[in-house]
């Protein structure tokens, strides 16, 4: 494998991981305050279609991304209202909403299938850096969205671990009763972060249709929401590990293609299944480590509806 091919492969892996990275970072915020939005796949789909339609209508991918974020937010709020306010089961509601999103987007989007995109997110080579040998090709010939996505986990890490608000967020996720006693609005903040997570998942979805495949098709996300959901667990709720996880998954999936092109003789199915086996393995490892330490890495109140008292 020559250097140029390796650099291009890394660039491809980073490029296609962007949507997952953005969505997973959003999901991390949601889970940090104690909610898991299992409907992530559905939120991404809604964002993907809305973003594409907005892009087609306005001719601007920026507006497309914004529209994707807004739609993702709105759809996530449906989940938020049902689970956070009405305290219903997150898994049941989440799975139901995914099916709603799948059917609805296929119906509404049917006239947008196989339509040529009028706008798409252009690559933005960073001056000087992009002409560096190897690293320039591998890292600095991406879209702006990808650069921002790379920075996002750092921003989230700063907010979570270096600000008072981050401390409050973690308190809400770890011990909502204590946080409630301290005067924080549990339901309010949970809803707020479900909305923020929805924005990011919606933008991630819109990135798929506007930046990766440049088209809409039914179920275009094809499981990327689930992968983003898994990455949060994989990362052990640590923002910087989200970055590692997203690129690890991206690299594995590109590696499957590379292996075939290079004739490594590995069955193509092996690489298709590897990311999922990887997640299970890492989670088992984590569980085993935690058992010996007697502490858990997930927010203690994750998935539990809040009842005052």
């Amino acid at each position: 494998m020559d250097y140029q091919f390796l650099a291009l492969t890394i660039a491809t892996a980073i490029g296609i991981s962007t949507a997952i990275l953005v969505a997973a970072t959003g999901e991390l915020l949601v889970e940090k305050v104690g909610v898991y939005n299992i409907a992530l796949e559905g939120v991404m789909l809604v964002g993907a279609l809305t973003g594409f339609i907005a892009g087609q209508t306005t001719g601007s991918w920026v507006l497309g991304l914004i529209a994707g974020g807004v739609a993702g937010c709105a759809f996530a709020m449906v989940f938020g209202l049902i689970t956070v306010v009405l305290r219903t089961d997150m898994i049941v509601v989440g799975v139901a909403l995914i099916l709603v999103a799948l059917g609805t987007t296929q119906t509404i989007g049917s006239s947008y299938v196989a339509v040529e995109a009028v706008t798409k997110i252009p690559n933005a080579d960073i001056p000087v850096l992009s002409s560096l040998p190897f690293i320039g090709t591998a890292l600095f010939q991406q879209t702006w969205v990808t650069y921002i996505a790379m920075a996002l986990p750092f921003v989230v890490a700063f907010i979570l671990f270096r600000t008072r608000h981050g401390l409050n967020m973690r308190a809400i996720g770890e011990n909502p009763n204590a946080a409630d006693t301290a005067g924080l609005s549990i339901v309010g903040w949970r809803l707020f972060y479900v909305a923020v997570g929805g924005v990011l998942a919606g933008v991630g979805g819109a990135y798929i249709t506007l930046g990766i495949v440049d088209s809409w098709a039914g179920n275009v996300t094809a499981g990327q929401g689930w992968i983003a959901f898994a990455i949060v667990f994989f990362a052990g709720w640590q923002p910087l590990w989200i970055l590692v996880g997203a690129y690890f998954f991206g690299a594995l999936s590109v590696l499957g293609d590379v292996g075939q092109v290079m004739g490594w003789g590995v069955p193509s199915e092996a690489f298709t299944v590897l990311p999922y086996v990887g997640t299970v393995a890492v989670m088992m490892l984590r569980a085993w480590k935690q058992k010996s330490k007697g502490a858990v890495s997930w927010p203690a109140a994750l998935g539990l509806p809040f009842y005052r008292g």
Binding site: T12, A222, D257, Q260, V261, M262, P267, S268
Partner: protein
């Protein structure tokens, strides 16, 4: 007369099918849909038992005007109503494979009396059989499968000899008395695509994004490679299997990796247009399969090998209406219907405006020879390791080309088949 009532009842039921067809995409809703299906199955059975004998169906439709003086006006009309349901893998209007099948379906719908509808996202599993059963219960009199579900269809057809006719595309398995299959010489189309690629490539590396490691893929890749090598002996083919027919993200990723590895002509055996979109973006060429991709990717598509079943399907609909249905029998491949390539059938698509005239002429010339019946699959043909597998002068037969070819030719890089 009873038969006419049965058909009328089914025509009513088919409206329910239209509705459930869209719900079918959501697998979780299937249990509910099946319940509806079961209810209508019971209804359909009870309404059609009097006429349900093997010979009744063709006989009733054969001579509508002749002796039946007492019959009501509806049975004297020369138009025979026929409800036809098409099964698709992947979503409606996927920009490729389903599009050309939808064209053929709608062509069938232009035959007087014929009503068509499609069910999408049909999975390759037991569930497909349930979908077929439900379609029959809802009044489908003909099922056309474009997904290759094989025995999941034919088994159900065999249970419903008196109710339905079935068509399965490129199914070499035995067909029950009410079922037929057809094939098209995709190896020829692939060979022509390979010639086009071989004349345009500069890197001498061409790529293909392929769904699964299945016979039709192996012959498609081999045809592509041999066509390319016939005009460009140094030509190499790199293949990425996607393990899905329809996944635009995966197809985009695979296409990019092929370009990264030096391929400057891309080809799809997958369903959608991602391969040529990547080609447009990366400034390389592409050769389309199934659909004419020239309008989707005007700057990259050299040409496309277009599958067109319209003529065949129109003919079959008319034959069923005339009571002339013919099964392709249980001996498998030798009897299934070959589609003639060329005008009105599978053919070459639009050439890109950038393609030099002599390249276009050469590809069209080779295609014309194929239409005239020339076999381009003649030894010596070597396998990947360079071993001679077909001796000089030996012609490969259709049956071998269709589903026995399980090794790649020299110059192909692909994961183990």
């Amino acid at each position: 007369m009873e038969e006419q009532h049965r058909i009328a009842a089914h025509a009513l039921d088919s409206r329910t099918l239209d509705m459930t067809g869209t719900h079918m995409r959501n697998r979780k809703i299937v249990p509910a849909v099946l319940l509806v299906g079961l209810v209508s199955l019971v209804a359909a059975c009870s309404s059609s038992t009097p006429a349900a004998t093997d010979s009744a169906a063709p006989a009733a439709t054969e001579a509508p005007a002749a002796t039946e003086a007492a019959a009501p006006a509806v049975s004297e009309a020369p138009v025979v109503p026929l409800n036809i349901t098409w099964l698709y893998t992947g979503p409606e209007n996927d920009g490729g494979y389903n599009v050309i099948n939808e064209v053929a379906m709608n062509a069938m719908g232009t035959v007087p009396g014929v009503k068509v509808n499609g069910i999408f996202e049909v999975p390759y599993s037991d569930e497909a059989s349930q979908i077929v059963r439900q379609a029959i219960a809802n009044g489908a009199q003909v099922i056309v499968d474009t997904t290759g579900i094989g025995t999941y269809l034919t088994d159900v057809c065999a249970e419903n000899l008196d109710k339905v006719y079935c068509y399965s595309g490129a199914d070499a398995g035995p067909q029950p008395a009410n079922s037929a299959s057809w094939w098209l010489p995709d190896w020829d189309l692939s060979y022509a695509a390979g010639v086009a690629a071989g004349l345009m490539t500069k890197s001498n590396i061409i790529g293909a994004v392929v769904p699964y490691e299945i016979p039709i893929a192996v012959q498609g890749i081999n045809g592509y490679a041999l066509g390319c090598q016939s005009v460009n002996p140094a030509c190499e083919v790199k293949v990425v299997y996607m393990n899905s027919y329809f996944d635009p993200t995966a197809a985009t990723k695979a296409s990019k990796t092929l370009v990264n590895a030096g391929a400057d002509v891309l080809r799809n055996l997958t369903d959608d247009a991602s391969f040529c979109k990547v080609a447009e973006e990366e400034g390389v060429y592409a050769v389309g399969e199934y659909n004419d991709f020239a309008s989707a990717c005007p700057n990259s598509i050299i040409t496309s090998t277009v599958w067109d079943f319209s003529d065949y399907m129109i003919e079959e609909a008319k034959e069923i209406q005339a009571g002339m249905f013919q099964s392709t029998g249980d001996s498998g491949f030798p009897e299934i219907t070959p589609l003639k390539i060329g005008l009105g059938g599978p053919r070459l698509g639009t050439f890109g405006a950038f393609v030099p005239a002599d390249v276009k002429a050469q590809v069209e010339g080779i295609f014309a020879e194929m239409v005239a019946g020339k076999n381009f699959f003649v030894g010596p043909i070597y396998d990947q390791k360079g071993k001679e597998k077909v001796k000089a002068g030996v012609e490969l037969e259709d049956k071998f080309l269709f589903h026995d070819w399980d090794w790649y030719v020299k110059g192909v890089t692909a994961s183990e088949g």
